[in-house]
Symmetry: C2
Subunit: 206 residues, 2 copies
DNA sequence: AGGCAAACATACTACTGAGTATGCTGTCAA
DNA sequence: TTGACAGCATACTCAGTAGTATGTTTGCCT
């Protein structure tokens, strides 16, 4: 655990992950083949297997990147000087645009969340998915602590914390299920969407 | 449209659908094979293909049944004499236990909702999935109308209706993502879960 | 210049899993 | 009783896909 966990991803690897996320989103992680991903890249299998040892690892890396996106943006906006309401609101207002900016990644990680333990994975794949699980747990804890603090000081209604946490998390991820970027969409839509969801989430806690 | 849409499902067919829902839930709709479903039944492929022409149709029938479950229970509790809040609360308190009672089916339909258009489907499969889409839309409309009525008479805060609808729907389906029945679970847990979610959903609208 | 990796492309192999063709068995009507 | 059909089981076929083995090019260091 001595070394920092940044495996120095190359530009080509990032490009492959972008393509994989896009294709996995469109076709589903199981249905999509490595050849589909290669076609999306305008290249062939060889390129992908040069950088990733298996399809399972590729999928795991996509999920890991999805988790990293929000995990880099949200923690910095939390501050001890703010009230739980203010903290939670800022977290949500940061979370939603970042998720929609990297939408394909999050559509993929939700697939892996809804369906399925991976079948017959290699040790490396298991390790990566364990890391995804870990980061997910870390991210949940950020929200859990804010909710707990708010319930303690009476800002939020006292009730089952786990249920509350899951509900709030799913609520702020709801756009992942239905949002599709549109050409005729006004500039103001994303901020409006974010604030409305933040309002609803906060209201649900009172 | 003259005939009633009840294709007279046999007991054997229902048993197959139960097994398919269970296996599709555990392994994922793409990963799970027909042989897996057959093994769950303690029989072989032959039985399944005798009743269903393809894996896609089998999956579609599972989704259709999932939609039917809630669509049979929820509409009867809606009444014009009640306020929008009261109607919505009763709908949620009916929806959640029914979903958890038939959990595997709903885990499957959510998979098909998150991931993917089906690839290279037969006309029959397309027709069935269109029917699923139709029933889903019908179900959504029930909630949309109650929300709209509540916004009109001032019970609910006026805001983007579609966003509100999607958020509420996802919120009351949240347990599908995380709930797992436990042996040491008190009798009272399900009612408590339902009322807490109903409270949160209604509060989010104020 | 030249050699040597890294970064791919090409051409395979092996296997899994959907779908089919056919065989077997009980049941029920005529 | 018999034949005919529903309800399965068994034993295949065949297409698609993950993974591999091996070529080919491109930078890059000396």
């Amino acid at each position: 655990m001595a070394d920092t966990k940044k495996p120095e991803m190359s530009a080509s690897q990032a490009e492959i992950l972008d393509a994989a996320a896009e294709v996995f989103m469109r076709l589903g992680t199981e249905t999509a083949s490595i050849d589909d991903v290669a076609r999306q890249l305008g290249s062939t299998k060889g390129r992908i297997y040069h950088h990733f040892p298996s399809k399972g690892v590729l999928l795991a890396e996509v999920c890991l990147r999805a988790a990293d996106f929000v995990l880099k943006k949200v923690p910095p906006v939390i501050t001890p000087v703010a009230t739980p309401e203010e903290n939670l609101r800022q977290m949500i207002l940061t979370h939603i645009p970042e998720v929609l900016r990297t939408l394909p990644y999050h559509k993929v990680i939700i697939q892996s969340y809804v369906g399925v333990q991976q079948k017959s994975t290699t040790p490396l794949e298991r390790a990566l998915f364990a890391q995804v699980q870990q980061e997910r747990k870390t991210y949940e804890t950020l929200f859990r602590e804010v909710l707990r603090a708010g319930m303690e000081d009476g800002s939020f209604r006292a009730q089952n914390l786990s249920i509350t946490l899951q509900s709030v998390l799913l609520m702020i991820n709801a756009p992942v299920f239905w949002y599709r970027p549109r050409d005729d969409e006004p500039e103001s839509f994303l901020p409006e969407l974010s604030t409305q969801l933040a309002d609803m989430a906060l209201a649900s806690l009172r």
